[in-house]
């Protein structure tokens, strides 16, 4: 990691009082959360608890109704000028998002591009890297996720697990300071979940800052620095995995864990 403008003590993600409604349905009812640099935060919770929505608010794919989220020294989608907070243009928002990688539930690889082209699209097209350097880095990333020989394949020729590993390599290729994982294993056949989780665990150990929304308790236990349990639009409980998963304090956490494990 290169020298960062923020000091080690400052959180990389700072969410305060985040509210989000879809019509009359209030999905987030005031979320406060800090994510420290290098930390892996796993967000657990039942379906409809708002965890995916919160993740999508972090990079402003979803616009929230109240509160604020800062990533580093940016507030994605907004800019504080003096005493006024202004909404930014689409172009400015695009610029802010460049340091944040994202991995989706449905992989969302570009189907008309090969694996290698998928990975170098952002580094070459957005970050202005040379094609040669981007390709070389893409190949090291592919090796890391164990798919070096698939560089020239098209996404549809790969299994779901392989596609998701390519998607992870694509997110890493922009050298992000933060990666968001939105239920990365939920669309996979059970026997393919392991390979993706192993890749993610590897990243967590290398000190990447990750926010992971998932249903995989096993992954939370092994890879998380902190587990956040959400239910009904609130953070119910959070702490180290050994505490939250082994000895949960809140009855709703206990009920959820007993159903899942």
């Amino acid at each position: 990691m290169n020298a960062q403008t923020i000091s080690q003590a400052e959180p990389l993600v700072k969410a305060r009082n985040v509210h989000k409604s879809f019509g009359d349905n209030e999905v987030l009812k005031g979320i406060d959360l800090d994510v420290m640099p290098g930390e892996t935060v796993v967000i657990l919770g039942p379906s409809g608890s708002g965890k995916s929505t919160f993740l999508r608010c972090i990079n402003h794919l979803e616009a929230m109704n109240r509160g604020s989220i800062q990533v580093g020294n940016e507030q994605i989608g907004y800019e504080l000028r003096g005493k006024h907070l202004r909404k930014l243009s689409a172009r400015a928002i695009a610029r802010q998002r460049r340091q944040i990688g994202m991995v989706f539930q449905q992989f969302n690889l570009y189907p008309h591009l090969t694996v290698l082209q998928n990975i170098i699209e952002a580094p070459v097209g957005i970050h202005g890297e040379s094609r040669q350097a981007a390709e070389a880095y893409a190949m090291t990333l592919l090796q890391r996720v164990g798919l070096k020989e698939k560089a020239d394949a098209y996404p549809r020729q790969l299994s779901g697990g392989q596609q998701q590993r390519v998607a992870i390599a694509r997110a890493l290729a922009i050298k992000p300071k933060l990666i968001l994982f939105d239920e990365p294993t939920s669309a996979l056949d059970p026997e393919l979940v392991g390979e993706v989780l192993a890749t993610m665990k590897d990243l967590a150990e290398q000190g990447l800052t990750m926010v992971v929304v998932t249903h995989e308790i096993g992954f939370a236990k092994e890879a998380a620095d902190r587990v956040v349990f959400m239910d009904g639009g609130y953070i119910v409980e959070q702490g180290p995995p050994d505490e939250i998963l082994v000895n949960p304090q809140h009855p709703r956490t206990r009920a959820f864990l007993s159903r899942v494990i």
Partner: protein, 320 residues
């Protein structure tokens, strides 16, 4: 159930010869007499019709042969093809802008785009062409300036609107309205997850369209666009009403003099058929190119597109 799976392939009670006969691998097709009959009938009718057309003196095939590659006809053909290409290119470009405008967040752009499409799709092309040609009777002067303010430049409409510019304007602006809807349909067919991904990675809207969205939309844009192109080739025959020397006009010029109406129309018909056939071949090649990355396809299929373009260019070159 599990016991059945562990049984030997043949049990002692099986009649082995009968089982061999029952093997579906050696099953024969049923003899389908009605299908053969239909083939024979269709073939007979086709041959008879071909014979009639070929031997009908009124078609005057020697006249068709004599004029098929005459200079004036080839000049008319090149005008038709040139008009098609120019009008189509302008139509696609304006159509793309209209489609993007109609899908934008700006209410003003949506309204302007809808208004354009409403007007140009809602009036006959022939009327639009005649209007363009007679524009000078409506607006004798074309002026660039600030509304209600000073004038920056001004032209005489009669100098601007020749048969050629009227034809291009009429065909292209009409085509743009149809292409806008075709392109919009194509853009809508792309998985919203793809658009979200380009946003998450910080792509600008223009780059996302160019690199990710449009290439995927092409698969559903190409077939109707091929249709439009073929319609356009035939629609260029409408410009003969504004004295533009296209294929139909040059054919008419000959038969007005010689009264060989049917053979001269056959010359035009054969040329139109020939050109549209070539375009069909080109279209399938382009479709193959844009369906690369589909299941089961390999990297090798990415090749045909340049060949297809080259093929079309050569054919256009020959025609001129």
């Amino acid at each position: 159930m599990t016991a059945a799976a562990t049984k030997p392939a043949f049990s002692p009670k099986d009649d082995v010869t009968e089982l061999a006969l029952r093997d579906v691998a050696h099953a024969r097709q049923p003899i389908n007499y009605s299908r053969w009959l239909m083939w024979a009938f269709t073939l007979a009718v086709t041959l008879k019709f071909g014979w009639m057309v070929a031997n009908n003196k009124n078609f005057e095939w020697h006249v068709v042969g004599q004029w098929f590659t005459a200079d004036s006809i080839l000049r008319g053909l090149s005008v038709s093809l040139g008009l098609t290409v120019v009008a189509m290119v302008i139509g696609v470009v304006i159509g793309l802008l209209l489609a993007i405008a109609r899908m934008s967040d700006s209410k003003l752009f949506v309204m302007l785009s809808s208004l354009y499409i409403w007007f140009f799709r809602g009036t006959p092309l022939l009327v639009q062409l005649i209007f363009w040609y007679n524009m000078s009777t409506l607006f004798p002067q074309v002026t660039i300036g600030i509304p209600f303010g000073p004038t920056l430049a001004s032209w005489n409409t009669n100098d601007l609107i020749t048969p050629l510019t009227a034809a291009i304007a009429g065909l292209a602006l009409n085509e743009a309205a149809y292409m806008a809807e075709i392109i919009r349909g194509g853009l809508l067919s792309v998985d919203p997850g793809q658009i979200e991904t380009t946003q998450a990675f910080g792509m600008t809207r223009a780059r996302a369209l160019r690199r990710i969205i449009i290439p995927q939309a092409m698969k559903s844009i190409i077939p109707p666009t091929g249709n439009q192109l073929i319609s356009m080739i035939k629609a260029t025959s409408l410009v003969s009403v504004i004295a533009m020397g296209d294929l139909l006009y040059s054919v008419q010029a000959v038969y007005n003099r010689t009264f060989e109406i049917i053979p001269m129309l056959m010359v035009a018909v054969l040329w139109y058929l020939l050109v549209t056939s070539i375009l069909n071949v080109g279209q399938s090649a382009i479709e193959r190119y844009y369906s690369r990355g589909d299941k089961g396809r390999t990297v090798a299929t990415a090749k045909p597109a340049p060949e297809a373009e080259a093929g079309m260019a050569v054919n256009l070159g020959d025609a001129r």
